[in-house]
């Protein structure tokens, strides 16, 4: 009954232990989450060999910071079922996909432009976030209003977008100018990286105005900023002027979105849209500091309790 040679015995037992532990762990995982996790060793970021498992783990770790920020909002997903690769398929998805489990919260919203109902995913719990990661929804985007007050934004949004050769450092300078301006108006701005080349500044507000009002307000601030700084442009037609930083107000519209804080981006290096302290921006930031690997280690939670600091906007 000596089934194996010595070599095989060593090999077999290692494999067996692996299979055994894997089964035990998968079983325990099942007790911890409703999501049926699959293909965890599939490569999602080929340049840096990051697997689906690592992406899922990232979102699990970020959930305590993320969930309060994205709760009750209809989400728009960018899915990369074969990983982040220019040659691979990716798609923008608003509709909850076929096979969405019944415990995932959704909200049907009629789209005027496409003349049909869209069934948006709402992510209020850890399982839904894990489910999204399991769907390869690597990027998650959210609108500036909550699902029950869709036409009343609770965020003002400034997209600070540098056009090369302008850099993130130029964008930071503009963001700091913007911050001083907003603070002078007794508003409380929060900042995050876009995860790509720009910065996002938001102000939590009491949801009582229409998007037209908030958009006009953000635009007005942009115009003032452009007057004060040569670097800033406030109009869409000027966005492609090299070396300028565009203070984009246009996203302040119903169901337009921004990438959610702590969402991974589809960059080769798995960068993250990272919530920052203003002090960090002052010191100077480096986009490579904010990736799947190091954002989980950040202790600070700059957007914590953001909705308790809502400002009343006078327009």
């Amino acid at each position: 009954m000596c089934l194996f040679s010595k070599k095989e015995i060593r090999f077999t037992s290692i494999n067996f232990i692996k299979v055994f532990w894997c089964k035990i762990v998968m079983k325990e995982l099942k007790e911890l989450t409703k999501v049926e996790l699959k293909n965890l060793d599939k490569i999602f970021y080929p340049k840096i060999n990051v697997t689906k498992g690592q992406v899922v783990e990232y979102y699990i770790k970020m959930a305590p910071k993320m969930l309060p920020l994205i709760a009750d909002r209809p989400l728009v997903l960018t899915r990369y079922p074969d990983g982040v690769d220019k040659e691979k398929v990716s798609f923008f998805e608003k509709n909850a996909p076929e096979g969405t489990p019944p415990w995932v919260k959704t909200k049907t919203i009629y789209s005027e432009t496409t003349k049909r109902d869209i069934n948006y995913v709402i992510c209020n719990d850890l399982d839904t976030l894990i489910w999204l990661a399991n769907l390869a929804a690597i990027e998650i985007h959210m609108p500036f209003s909550k699902v029950n007050t869709l036409d009343k934004p609770d965020f003002l949004f400034f997209d600070i977008d540098p056009e090369p050769p302008a850099t993130l450092s130029d964008a930071s300078d503009v963001a700091l100018l913007l911050k001083d301006k907003l603070c002078a108006l007794e508003l409380t701005p929060f900042i995050k990286t876009s995860g790509k080349k720009g910065l996002h500044v938001v102000i939590p507000i009491v949801p009582e105005h229409t998007f037209e009002k908030t958009r006009a307000f953000v635009h007005k601030i942009g115009i003032e900023l452009a007057k004060e700084s040569d670097m800033v442009v406030s109009e869409f037609k000027d966005t492609k002027k090299p070396g300028k930083v565009f203070a984009d107000y246009l996203q302040n519209s119903p169901l337009r979105t921004m990438v959610v804080p702590y969402s991974l981006r589809s960059t080769p290096g798995a960068t993250v849209s990272t919530a920052l302290e203003w002090a960090e921006v002052k010191k100077g930031i480096n986009p490579s500091d904010f990736t799947i690997f190091n954002v989980v280690k950040r202790k600070s939670n700059p957007w914590k309790n953001i909705f308790e600091k809502r400002c009343k906007l006078e327009v």
């Binding site: 000596c2 055994f20 762990v25 325990e28 060793d41 060999n49 783990e57 699990i60 309060p68």
Partner: protein, 273 residues
């Protein structure tokens, strides 16, 4: 084992050798059963040959004198047994051959035992026994052992070494498994690590037992695959076709770290509420 597994196992098993490596007889008391011995265990893992990078020629091992780095021909080689540091008692081949046990071409069975009373740690190598001349006697011993679920314990001399051996049945055949000597096997109780082994708590033990029970199943050797060998063979095929090889390290099983992260996050979320 289920019929399906059996068939799967048959498909992947190694092919039967043509020539016996030994012939002789099984001796039980005064009874003799003539048999031929065939190897049954192969190491079909991946093996490579060392080549000279510059010209692709195979390399060979040579014996070299440690003092002057000169190659020593076989007829100048003797064997040395180290009795003290750097002190050897030497033997030449003639002396050793004179005292080596001769194979007496017998598998001497001294008693019949319960097969499962021998722990696999003693199993060395298994050989298939085939009837030589008398098929009737072979069939008789085979059937008797199968009926009684017994194995014969005895010894055999193969080439120049005497082994303890087990004569047992395997899939309708008589097979012989050579065993290791007791002095070749370590007693795990001699490891320090086992000295302060704690008794598990009841809840832990219940959980562990539950897991073991839940994961209990039939052993199926075909579930195990030599993925290294498979990968090497794939690469060989690609190389033969002149394709470029991308060397990538397979990622580790990550479920464990997911579980740890999940537990931690669930704890934190509970606190937040």
């Amino acid at each position: 084992m289920t019929q399906e597994n059996l068939e799967k196992e048959e498909r992947v098993s190694a092919s039967a050798p043509r020539r016996p490596i030994w012939s002789g007889s099984v001796t039980i008391g005064l009874v003799n059963l003539p048999v031929k011995l065939y190897p049954m265990i192969y190491d079909k893992g991946v093996s490579f040959r060392f080549l000279h990078k510059a010209d692709g020629q195979p390399l060979k091992y040579v014996k070299m004198c440690t003092k002057d780095d000169k190659i020593v021909p076989w007829d100048e080689v003797v064997r040395g047994y180290e009795v003290a540091k750097n002190e050897y008692v030497t033997f030449d081949n003639k002396e050793l051959n004179a005292i080596k046990p001769e194979s007496d071409r017998q598998i001497r069975i001294s008693k019949f035992i319960d097969y499962f009373s021998v722990d696999p740690v003693y199993f060395d190598k298994t050989y298939a026994l085939m009837p030589d001349k008398s098929k009737e006697a072979y069939s008789l011993l085979l059937t008797a052992l199968e009926r009684k679920n017994k194995a014969g314990a005895g010894r055999i001399t193969l080439r120049t070494k005497e082994y303890p051996a087990l004569l047992h049945t395997y899939r309708g055949a008589l097979v012989l498994t050579t065993l290791r000597y007791a002095y070749d096997v370590v007693n795990p109780q001699d490891f320090e690590d086992l000295k302060k082994l704690k008794e598990p708590s009841k809840t832990e033990l219940d959980l562990a037992i539950k897991i073991v029970t839940d994961l209990s199943g039939e052993f199926d050797i075909t579930e195990f695959e030599d993925s290294y060998k498979k990968r090497v063979e794939e690469i060989i095929e690609q190389k033969l076709k002149g394709e470029k090889i991308r060397v990538e390290k397979p990622p580790e099983v990550e479920a464990k770290s997911l579980m740890v992260a999940l537990r931690e996050t669930l704890k934190q979320l509970e606190k937040q509420q």
